[in-house]
Symmetry: C2
Subunit: 147 residues, 2 copies
């Protein structure tokens, strides 16, 4: 199959609130009041976890039949810690983003433990969002004045 291309366009509403358009969908990203925001949407690092949750659900279902698993559904709990010091320019000792991400995935199915283990390894190996988080990804940014 050829490569798929994805694209979104975003516009700031204020210093923390961003409206993002992807095809016909609109996403609102903001920060909570405690981080100086107007709290009108989940924040950027919560969006990462949402992206990963959505991708794990898709991959769980794509891979299940290959392991003979009848999957009735999944529940996923995701969390991560980050130190805001770099973000706020107070210290550059820690990295800016999540130091790690912990996931608990509950699968509604009757597969045995050994099958579940093989299945989840395949899910993780083939998950696009997980790949971009676990491994390095090249980012090129061009900046321009808008006027």
């Amino acid at each position: 199959m050829p490569d798929l291309k994805f694209r979104v366009k975003a516009k700031s509403v204020n210093a923390t609130k961003t409206i993002v358009k992807a095809r016909g969908f609109e996403m609102i990203v903001d920060e909570p009041a405690g981080l100086g925001g107007t709290d009108e949407g989940a924040n950027p690092v919560e969006y990462i976890l949402a992206a990963y949750a959505g991708c794990l659900n898709v991959m769980a279902h794509v891979c299940a039949p290959e392991f003979g698993i009848t999957l009735r559904g999944v529940e996923i709990d995701l969390q991560g810690n980050l130190n805001p010091n770099r973000l706020f320019g107070k210290s550059f000792e820690d990295r800016a983003g999540y130091k790690g991400i912990k996931v608990v995935l509950k699968a509604d199915c009757d597969a045995d433990d050994a099958t579940l283990d093989l299945w989840i390894k395949d899910v993780v190996n083939r998950c696009p969002v997980g790949d971009n988080l676990k491994n390095t990804t090249d980012i090129v940014i061009k900046v321009k004045r808008s006027k």
Copy 2:
């Protein structure tokens, strides 16, 4: 400052649609019909780009005063290509996720080019989402049966 902890909980509605809760916010992730989905929300890899857009807006505003920039707003265009062969288990030659991410950020301000260049380097260096995409992040997944 101490570490901040972020957490979301997600539940599958069907094989492609996931409802994600982050504090009081609900996010719907789905896949377009062309990728076998019910198309009720942006898809997981579009959510990554939304997360990055939101984070770049915040960091653009956090860093601007440090460079003497009066920032009136930003517009951000983000795109990436990925090969779906690994996802679908057809070939394991390419990685699963974005091969790279391209961003064009238009800043509504009067700063000169040299100042814009210094500012965007700082924005990128201190952006949590960008850090998790550009660099490696440890992910630990536990799988359980829900019953």
